[in-house]
Symmetry: C2
Subunit: 889 residues, 2 copies
């Protein structure tokens, strides 16, 4: 029973029939059996393999009779133990590689079909299809099977009772919003009045009279039928709503998504993904607007900014120490004017407010999503589907058994088969995971360090070169190539890490599909996150900080001095890196991986079936829908989509203090992303299985974690990367007039050029046209003439204390505000909770009325009985009212 | 229907019958109706009021016919809208004051009884009881009513199927623990084998055959019957397990609590409280042990502590500046030797580790409790009882309607009655709450400040006095009196704040009981927390910090200098304050409020019924159990019990860095507390209503909040209150040999006595026997001979930066570790989740078998039909197997 399902190579749901539920019959497109009566609820496809490929594929286990016998016996015992595994297409696709002899296969397939028949399903075979070597089995679930399974699954079905939500006056705001946003809603003719909602109750055959069975064919919609068939160890089928094409279209990017229809077609899990993506995109709008305002504020105030004015004023005439050994010379601060002005765009008082805002925004987003999720749960009647059902769906992975077999085969204790893996069995896998993960993270660091070394050495080499053209373009060249190298490495490693994470998770042999998915996501997230953020973290917190001081520089790998930033330049470089990473990653991943590669794969699959174009066209007209779908790519889960968005969410929240335009970039990307994903799911991939889900699972926890980390990261960016705190301290502790005048001078320390270590002094000391005796550098150190020259000064410690105090205050204030917002906004929207309460009361009333009716009928019966035999009084249970109370006084 | 319930003054469940379920009949103690057949499931009590008291009581609304008519009409409409309010005894007790005319009352009571009869309940009246002017109505719920309500409430009832949990080898540890702790388990003969657990399923009358109905009288246990009757707008009755007396007994303090029985008797909510208290006490054991170890480590290393050795060494001969103006003189550091040695007991390296441990301990406690709660939920079959049920139980408070009436009466918009209160209606109440809360918190601060002023002025006065005896005892006198005053104020304000919180919550008119309780708890918590912790926070973070410096002291209220601590003395005072608060509060509150006052109230109530002792004894023998219970105090909810424990939890976690013995004190208190509460609930109070609850509600969130705040508070205590960071900085930055030698000297600044402001110099400068020119004080400031005398030195800023850095590192590391531990420990214990999964599978199997049986029977029927009429083939739905698939090849 467990392995049976692996015999069908393509477990393919029907899709793209362009039929509404219960529309007229199209015999040649055939959502019905050949008798035209019974619906096709499901189609299984299998390969009739060529003898040659069999021999080749099944070589691994061929002849190993022992294993086969073991499997068969295990198979029998496991079906007795009533394990109900579900295969998903991903695993099924992997399992194509687990091979058996062809006759063994047919034998098992027949047994499997037998079992299906025993479960009450009806089958129709079609092996003479137009695709060579493919057989199809169509499946129909009759009414009684549907009822039985619906009862087991405790499906909430609409009863006859209909709830008219009262139109209270306080809902006016909602109605107003609805009216205003009307043009944004997708054009769907509602099948029933929007305000009317059937009361739903877990289906029970004994209570059939409660349910609205006026149209049995429509009572279970196609998605439900499909999940029911899937529940009996298979996949699902569901007609496609004809309007979903409008949704998967770029031109409607400004419209809300038809989430209800998406859910009806793809199931709750994918519905939730698109709903989440929608909420995220929607929430990005205010963030993007405020980000742009902050940026514009920076632009507007750039001319009033005293520090950059002082830097740009040539009268100040400040001579700076060289930025590198030997090749570089002294330079005048006024040349950093452009960078200083540009960095003001991202480093001003508004940025601090903006990053507090973004921390609260993240919390609001989570809260908003929780409420939206609750609302969807209510609309989709998932409110009862919780705890118990989720333990129910935590089925054993279908490859778990074979993996176990594999492990125990090598460990030589077969007795272990029927019990669980002990810790000792799992230890090697966990150790491997730990070691590999650590190694990969170290590798990521090493690569970032490699890029740094590349930058340093190229810079040094270019500085040494004799061509003045090369030297003038040094900075641009180095920055551009380094950023592009970084980007390419990130994208390549992303793919590699994904595969490694999957491999590691397979090694761990998780017991259930759910735990497999969670472990995989967790690992992939850590690796990809480290990959994407290591260069950014380096730029934000380490670049230009580990340089030592003039006369005592820090050297790496022999004689390379660590790179310095230009005055106020680190923040700018961080901005550039963020910008390139966000844009590049999104553009390349979207275009190449999400559109290009699936198209390529589809093409290849079509080529593989050895048909020339003319034949193909001919086929295209005559092929059944399910035969066409055979050429589409399989659905590999939502993880890559979520992962991409989560990394983006990280970019938006973690370093928003240094790049206020990040939300705007994310917004623009997401508007395209929604329609892109929609198009991909609708046209490029086989229809995924409808999976029920109440929430977005582990992703929510990751989001929470990210928004927590974002607070502390932003605190550090503001206090350590930007000059916000030194400016504040200068203004309140050192400034003679309370303004920033003199700040630049105060932030620069003095260096006596005679203190240069031999060999590090500039080659051209007269580069500026005059002899330099004292040069300046950005640090808070004692001047050469103090008693402790070049030691960290009191100002340094005071400013450090202020920076740290700011981190503590910022972190705790924002955390407190977040918790407060979290606590303030109820998780369940008010109107939903009121409606749920009303439904409950109505339900009790319905039952109560039924009860009364029954009792009256029973009393009538009893009375009739009494007439017949007056001695039947002392029957139990005693009837109410049979012993009235005595009112004593 | 809503007001009816208010007519019965005492809605009193039966208690202390010392009967097991279904034991033999005791006709004179009477848990049965007078016919000896029907059980008494519930007893209502009502007063037959004297005419005099009626006139007096009902004066408020008497004659206001309009209100009465309104109420009646509202009453009718609300019963149609099917609101099912539940009164709780607390509210019912309050509502005694809402009065009506006696005849109106009788009329309504009769209507109410009618309604009860209509619901299928059976009543028996007993107005000629031995208590004058009291009437009792006994209630019996017949079988069919029980079944109906059980179905509505989706009660999980045991089916015939029994689950034998497999005794896997990995449970050995559990069994071992069970065996080892066997003497700790209370002596209960289990009614069924412990390892056997009936499968439970929501009760349904249609599926009665699934349930174990062999003994109808026992099928619904008394608690269930009671909640069922309660569900029909009343209270509950349940026989008392005879062994629960063992539990409510001090001599068994070392034994586990019989949680299952407590829950059976008191219901889930109180069961959870005792379970929580048990888990908390249990978790305190390791904390107490490690706390003692840390303390002992301090004791053992006190002689190796270099700073205190230096202080105690008379050769160092350090002259300190006077601690107060004028009256005080210079003093030698060696006199602070004792304090320095004592403070080492609480301020050493082990304390830091201990407070990290305690932060993790708090997380572990929360996790342990979550798991325990889950286990209890499973054992008590509450796993399905969630979301929906909790919205269901969120009933309207029964005084909500009358409050509404009251509000709308004064606001003159009666139309508002049937809809909800708008924001404008609630605004005044919210504003009042805000203002009052702020005022009370300011009051708390003011009182603490008053105590400080008291200390300062008494100290000054005593210093000025001429009696040397008074002067020598200054410190002890001031400290003791101040601490006792603080304690008394805390205890008095605690009671006042509790009442104010209740009053404020009543003003807000919360809609449901749950929201009433939560708002009340929230307010009471904030006030009581501020009350208990303000003096401690002042001692920990402000005392001795706001003193200014010699020559420039800070003065309050004219000429009082802010109090200073002796060298390393602040930590000691914090310890003493914590010690006194914990011990005093617990002893006084336990003895006085929890034992004394209830006893007093009971006595008063008995006195009120005007009986002399002889008559009383006579009565004691003849009175029915429910008549005796009438003299017990009402149950006022669990909030005070929880509140006490939460404040204690705060003491244990928040300031554990300064007082490692706190867990030990808490443990000792709690061991008594459990039995004290048990005794109180069993013997002193009327039996509380069995309320279903899945968790401890808002308290869990408060605990979480506290454990979060604890991290940051401990970080600040370690880095700012203790000398841990300065010692560390000295050792690594300033010490010549890497030890603490010279630390004391380094931590003291120099002061030139000629810089004293006129009038502040000591009266007796020659007190020490020599002329002082330079005195020392504890601060990091420049010496008098520097260019900027008495300014904060570089060392100060460096140490401040180190302190702040420590706070950031400590907070984030501990938070990360907490989250990691939280993530590492699954919320549902492994064995429980495995068993839940097994139950589920078994349940499906049972249904499946039943299904197959039915189908076979149907087929047989069909075959018989076929024999009779062979043309009945094309009936719908089509039978499975009727159209076998064609194996094409």
């Amino acid at each position: 029973m467990i392995h049976m399902i692996l015999l069908f190579v393509f477990l393919q749901p029907m899709k793209k029939l362009y039929l509404d539920d219960g529309s007229s019959l199209h015999p040649h497109l055939g959502p019905y059996f050949s008798d035209g009566q019974r619906r096709v609820d499901y189609v299984l496809a299998y390969e009739i393999e060529k003898p040659s490929s069999i021999r080749h594929r099944s070589s691994r286990f061929s002849g190993n009779k022992f294993i086969q016998r073991l499997r068969r016996s295990f198979n029998r015992s496991s079906s007795r133990a009533a394990l109900h595994p579900k295969a998903d297409p991903e695993i099924a696709a992997q399992e194509q590689r687990t091979d058996y002899h062809e006759d063994d296969k047919r034998f098992r397939r027949e047994e499997f079909e037998e079992n299906l028949l025993e479960m009450g399903l009806e089958l129709e075979k079609d092996e003479r299809s137009k695709i060579p070597e493919m057989g199809f089995v169509k499946i129909h679930a009759p009414w009684n099977v549907l009822c039985r399974e619906a009862e087991f699954m405790k499906l909430k079905m609409p009863t006859k009772k209909v709830l008219n939500p009262s139109t209270h006056h306080q809902f006016n705001v909602r109605q107003f919003i609805h009216k205003v946003t009307a043009p944004l809603h997708p054009k769907i003719e509602p099948s029933r009045p929007q305000n009317v909602k059937s009361l739903c109750h877990p289906f029970s055959r004994e209570k059939q009279h409660l349910f609205d069975l006026s149209d049995r064919d429509r009572f279970f919609d196609s998605k439900t039928r499909s999940s029911i068939v899937y529940q009996i160890l298979k996949r699902t089928r569901c007609t496609k709503a004809k309007y979903s094409m409008e949704w998967a279209c770029y031109s409607v990017f400004y419209k809300y998504q038809p989430i209800g229809l998406i859910r009806k077609y793809f199931g709750e899990k994918i519905g939730l993904y698109f709903a989440w993506l929608g909420v995220y995109t929607q929430m990005l709008i205010p963030a993007a607007i405020i980000g742009v305002i902050v940026f514009l504020y920076g632009c507007a105030t750039v001319d009033d900014n005293i520090p950059s004015m002082e830097i740009c004023d040539p009268r100040n005439n400040i001579t700076m120490c060289p930025l590198c050994d030997h090749a570089c010379s002294y330079w005048e601060l006024v040349t950093a004017c452009g960078t200083a002005r540009a960095s003001h765009l991202f480093d001003n008082a508004a940025t601090v407010i903006f990053s507090i805002f973004m921390a609260l925004w993240a919390v609001l987003f989570m809260e908003h999503w929780k409420r939206r999720q609750m609302r969807l749960n209510y609309t989709w009647d998932l409110t009862g589907f919780g705890e118990e059902d989720s333990t129910h769906t935590a089925h054993w992975r279908c490859c778990y058994i074979s993996d176990l077999l594999f492990i125990s085969f090598f460990h030589f204790h077969f007795m272990c088969l029927c019990v669980k893996l002990t810790c000792t069995d799992r230890m090697p896998a966990y150790l491997t995971t730990m070691v590999t993960m650590c190694f990969l993270i170290v590798l990521t660091f090493a690569i970032v360090f490699g890029v740094i070394l590349y930058r340093i050495s190229i810079k040094a080499a270019l500085h040494m070169s004799n061509y003045p053209a090369a030297r003038s373009n040094i900075r641009a060249t180095v920055k551009t190539t380094a950023a592009i190298i970084n980007l390419i490495i990130i994208i390549i490693l992303d793919e590699i890490y994904g595969s490694i994470a999957r491999w590691l998770t397979t090694l761990e042999v998780p017991k259930t599909d759910k735990s497999f998915e969670e472990r995989l996501i967790f690992k992939a997230f850590i690796l990809k996150f480290a990959n994407a953020f290591t260069p950014i973290v380096y730029l934000a917190f380490f670049r230009g900080r580990l340089v030592g001081r003039p006369g005592k520089y820090l050297y790496v790998v022999g004689s390379y001095r660590m790179e310095e930033c230009a005055h106020a330049g680190c923040l700018m470089e961080l901005c550039i890196q963020l910008c390139i990473t966000m844009l590049g990653k999104q553009l390349i991943q979207n275009n190449l991986f999400e559109i290009g590669i699936p198209k390529l794969k589809k093409l290849l699959r079509r080529r593989k079936s050895d048909l020339d174009s003319k034949q193909e066209e001919e086929l295209n007209r005559t092929m059944q829908r399910y035969e066409k779908d055979h050429f589409l790519g399989p659905f590999v889960g939502l993880s890559p989509e979520y992962m991409e968005m989560i990394i983006q969410f990280g970019m938006v929240t973690l370093f928003v203090a240094s790049f206020p335009l990040a939300p705007l970039f994310a917004l623009l990307n997401n508007i395209i992303e929604i329609r892109l994903d929609a198009k991909k799911f609708v046209t490029e991939l086989r229809r995924p299985i409808a999976v029920k889900a109440k929430d977005i699972g582990i992703w929510y926890n990751i989001l929470r974690g990210l928004s927590k980390v974002a607070v502390i990261v932003n605190a550090f960016v503001i206090s350590f990367t930007s000059d916000f705190i030194p400016r504040l301290v200068y203004q309140h502790m050192f400034s003679p007039d309370g303004t920033l005048h003199g700040f630049v001078n105060h932030s620069l320390s003095y260096f006596n050029v005679t203190d240069f270590q031999p060999g590090t002094e500039p080659v051209e000391p007269m580069h500026l046209g005059y002899k330099v005796e004292i040069c300046r550098y950005k640090d808070y150190r004692e001047p050469p003439w103090s008693s402790t020259p070049y030691q960290l000064s009191k100002d340094f410690w005071a400013i450090l204390a202020a920076r740290l105090a700011f981190v503590i205050v910022f972190q705790n204030v924002v955390m407190l505000m977040s918790d407060f917002v979290d606590w303030l906004i109820p998780d369940i929207p008010k109107d939903i909770s009121v409606q749920m309460h009303k439904e409950k009361i109505l339900m009790v009333e319905v039952f109560m009325k039924e009860e009364q009716g029954k009792r009256l009928a029973a009393q009538d019966n009893q009375n009739q009985d009494k007439c017949a035999s007056p001695s039947s009084d002392n029957q139990s249970p005693p009837q109410p009212r049979s012993r009235p109370i005595s009112h004593a006084n």
